[in-house]
Amino acid sequence: MPVLVYTENVEGKFKKSTFEIVSYGRAIADQNKTSLVAISIGDVSKEELAGLGKYGAERVLNVSNEKLKNFINQAYASVIAEAAAKEGAEIVVLSNSFSGRGLAPRIGVKLEAGVADGAVALPEQAKGKFIVKKTAFSGKAFANVELTSEKKVISLIPNAYKIEEKGAIAKVEDFGPALKPGDLKTIIKEIVRSTDKVSLPDADIVVSGGRGLKGPENWGMIEELADLLGAATACSKPVSDAGWRPHSEHVGQTGIAVSPNLYIAIGISGAIQHLAGISSSKVIVVINKDPEAPFFKVADYGIVGDAFEVVPQLIAAVKEYKASA
């Protein structure tokens, strides 16, 4: 009974979080001494699909259907559940992306499966138990959740599992799902995507600004630093509440939770609600002129100084580092 992994694409290309989830699925398949089957929905080239083999998928089910070109939550969930049933898969894994968050609960209901959302590690399987560690209380804690159902759905948060390249080329097979008209009631009108910007939830590096930056006109240096580092930009709640930056950049308990390798907080004091959203970052750098800012207590590196002096110097130093690298 294979493990089934849903591999999400963006405009026909797989992204980093997709390779993470395939690597994660591979490891779960190995735990259970079984094979890993991927399912892709949408217009993706044969080469791109076969390339999933590199991360450990043995077979790829390719669903290429005009009606499923764009993401329709209800229909995609039906297709993935149908594939799981046909393959006899008991474990379905997917990324805890915006789309994945819509799919996991629907697939769970269809398969009568327990759903572990926001997993941060491989499941622990011993003595007939299946336990998944997931984020809880908006990053302030983790919960160990036991899935007691026969079938299981797990969604993995981005940057939580390391990509492993070990396989070869995957066998690509066409998969023709039995679509019901009721699943296709949603119509996509428009997709607006800024491809020149790094997407925040799965960014490796995040540069985040707070009220200490005094106004939206001062975000130029934040963007410049982010561009140099290939980072996404983010902000604290007061900043998005004030309309300086869009809500989609708000990181924290009531915004987006991020788990990058490097989080650089500039002019953010570090209120408990903000810290909740960034606590799973691997390395935290804080730049703040107030040495008493609570953010320094959870930081790995800190600079006590005025952002308007420190950040331009940091930009210069990164440029110099890049020129010498």
Binding site: K15, A77, P105, K140, N144, I205, I272, Q313, L314
Partner: protein, 245 residues
């Protein structure tokens, strides 16, 4: 139109999270419980859409009697009436099953949830409800408009947004941008006491998951301070020591 708003009773955002009984129970001692912030957004939009007698905004909560202050707060903000399903919310599957059972005998045109609750952050109830009721569901929306029998929503996607339409009824999970949360006024607080709050007994639901215990994030070591006049040193540390650039 009839709108159902699913609400959770959650620890206040400033709460320091601790556990008791070998880390198996959330320590509620001294914790202030609030209406889940994302649910406040859902409720505010439901009130706007039904403003001026254009239908009703019902709130529903799966919880024990201790959640009633939060339900009364929702009524004070402007909900028309409320339903409490009298059970401990075991997990998202349990909650969604209870609400679906209620909706099957009490239909609604639009069902709103917050994008997630700030305690378990599952974002699961909206999708599960959609599946149980066999209607479309959209998670994490930033805008919602109703035009006759259709609903148009803006959904958040990585690096952008997607605009989609669907025929009512649907389930949608609201995030910042959908509406500004409303603060109850004195009239609202007074009238909340007399608004109907119906208590319904739960249906039997199979158990699919259990929380065994909790962990808190490992504390980080002491912060390494870099002098403000030697910023290049930070870049060196990030490259050589932390290996993140």
């Amino acid at each position: 139109m009839k709108i159902l708003v699913c609400v959770s009773n959650v620890p206040d955002t400033t709460t320091k999270i601790t556990f008791t009984d070998n880390n198996t129970q959330f320590n509620t001692a001294g914790v202030q419980f609030i209406l889940n912030p994302y649910d406040e957004i859902a409720l505010a939009r439901a009130i706007e859409l039904t403003d001026g007698g254009n239908g009703s905004a019902t709130v529903i909560n799966v919880g024990e009697v201790s959640t009633e202050p939060t339900i009364r707060k929702a009524l004070a903000i402007g909900a028309t009436d409320a339903v409490r399903i009298n059970a401990k919310p075991h997990d998202a599957w349990f909650v969604a099953s209870q609400i679906a059972a209620y909706v099957k005998s009490n239909p609604f045109d639009l069902i709103l949830t917050g994008r997630e609750s700030i305690d378990y952050n599952g974002s699961k109830v909206a999708g599960m409800l959609g599946e149980l009721l066999d209607i479309p569901s959209v998670s994490i929306i930033k805008k919602l408009d109703v035009n006759g029998t259709d609903v148009t929503v803006e959904r958040e996607i990585e690096g952008g947004k997607e605009i989609l339409t669907a025929p009512l009824p649907i389930v949608a999970g609201t995030a910042e941008g959908v509406a500004e949360p409303k603060i109850p006024n004195m009239r609202g607080i007074m009238s909340a006491r007399s608004k109907p709050l119906v208590v319904v007994e739960p249906v039997t639901v199979s158990t699919l998951s259990n929380v065994l215990d909790y962990e808190t994030p490992k504390p980080r070591g002491q912060v390494k301070l870099v002098p403000a006049d030697d910023v290049a040193k930070l870049v060196g540390l990030l490259h050589d020591e932390a290996r993140v650039i």
